[in-house]
């Protein structure tokens, strides 16, 4: 092992939560008065820990009167998401608007287009069935691909690999959810002359776990530099309710229960944090394996999975390509 490389130990993700909150609040204020020139912040609250922490940070940055929260439920999101988010908005003393986007999603064909693709794989699939997609392959050293799981009303589960074309259509149709939410966020941002807060954590931001021009779009991303473990540390410091802190991270996008790790990440978030930190710090795969007690040889798979997702999602981060630079605009 390279002696210069930092070693893995249980404290690698420790953070001074109070200082970090101050640093982020200062950065948000500076961005609003400087580059963005907006006078408040919009935060869409999902009831999950990331958006909850972002809402609390926004309040620390500009005060409750300058933060407007949105809850954007649709036909398939969980009721808990809405009630948890509303309770926190009340605790934080911020105004909020509930905008049910289900009817608009229906009108634009989000559910019908997704279901049509799913029926190409399972012809009996109907809108009364439940469904989810989950990632497979990468953690076992293979290529990442997606499996479609559907549940018929009798409770029976059926699973199949999603072919390329149907996978793309399921994702394209489902992404209407994130994109319509963002459209609503910018409506309120424009109405109030506020800026939009994006809520990805470092795992999501690095590994491309977001929809381009959907949840990936924002004016500020206050926790994109923080590992999920660190977001939880901030959540405790900011008095985010226990029920939010203890709920397992879900996508709240598909009708069958679905953890984020099952959908996208090779490992559960606390272990994925360690893996990404180790990868970023040049820790040999064998040392990661030992630290996380992974089966021999799979540390390299996890690293390859990190690289592969970074490569596959580079497009999500890319600005529109210009044929020649426009230096007068700084582009």
């Amino acid at each position: 092992m390279d002696l210069a490389a930092p070693a893995l130990h249980p404290g690698i993700l420790d953070i001074d939560a109070a200082a970090e909150v101050e640093r982020i609040a200062h950065a948000l204020r500076s961005a609003l008065t400087g580059e963005l020139r907006r006078r408040g912040l919009i935060v869409a609250m999902s009831g999950g820990v990331d958006s909850s922490v972002c809402a609390a940070l926004a309040v620390r940055a500009v005060g409750a009167s300058k933060v407007h929260a949105l809850m954007l439920p649709e036909h398939e999101s969980s009721d808990f998401s809405l009630t948890r988010a509303q309770a926190l908005a009340q605790q934080l003393g911020i105004e909020y608007t509930v905008e049910a986007i289900g009817p608009a999603l229906e009108a634009i064909g989000c559910y019908a287009r997704r279901d049509a693709a799913m029926r190409e794989v399972f012809p009996a699939y109907a809108s009364t069935w439940k469904s989810k997609i989950s990632i497979a392959g990468g953690r076992d050293g293979g290529f990442n691909y997606f499996k479609l799981t559907v549940q018929s009303p009798d409770g029976k589960l059926h699973e199949a690999r999603l072919p390329h074309k149907q996978y793309l259509q399921v994702v394209a149709a489902t992404s209407f959810k994130q994109r319509l939410r963002k459209t609503m966020e910018y409506y309120h941002a424009d109405r109030l002359h506020y800026a939009v807060v994006g809520t990805p954590n470092r795992l999501e931001y690095d590994q491309g776990f977001f929809v381009k021009n959907g949840d990936g779009s924002a004016d500020l991303k206050p926790i994109a530099h923080l590992y999920k473990t660190q977001v939880y540390a901030l959540a405790r410091h900011l008095d985010i309710p226990r029920e939010i802190r203890e709920a397992p991270p879900t996508t709240d996008t598909y009708t069958l229960d679905q953890g984020q790790d099952e959908f996208y990440f090779a490992l559960r978030h606390d272990r994925m944090d360690v893996a990404l930190w180790a990868y970023n710090h040049g820790i040999p795969a064998a040392e990661l394996e030992a630290f996380l007690e992974l089966p021999a040889g799979t540390g390299a798979y996890v690293y390859r999975d990190i690289e592969s997702k970074r490569a596959a999602t580079r497009y999500l981060h890319a600005r529109p390509v210009l044929v020649e630079p426009l230096p007068e605009l700084g582009h």
Binding site: G137, F143, N144, Y145, P163, Y167
Partner: protein
């Protein structure tokens, strides 16, 4: 089917579908991963093409770099799948 025919068919598919520049020199042993020719979504599409074109079923556990990460690997894999079961 000869291995060379498999290589030719897959190369044509890559050129057509992934805008792979021939001048980039897609050698038979060139790794699609290392040259960033394909990402994971691209491999799923490639595997769909292989299944359809060569009339075989790729099992989940066969979706590995050693079977699909170069023209030569694909040719070997397809040839092996086409061997009669008794010969394997």
């Amino acid at each position: 089917m000869q291995q060379q025919e498999i290589v030719t068919a897959v190369r044509a598919f890559l050129r057509e579908n992934f805008l792979v520049d021939d001048e980039a020199g897609l050698g038979e042993d060139t790794s699609f991963m290392q040259t960033h020719t394909l990402d994971s979504t691209g491999f799923v599409e490639l595997i769909g093409f292989v299944e359809e074109t060569f009339g075989l079923e790729v099992r989940d556990e066969e979706m590995l770099p050693e079977n699909f990460d170069s023209l030569a690997n694909i040719a070997h894999y397809v040839a092996r799948k086409h061997e009669p079961a008794t010969a394997r």
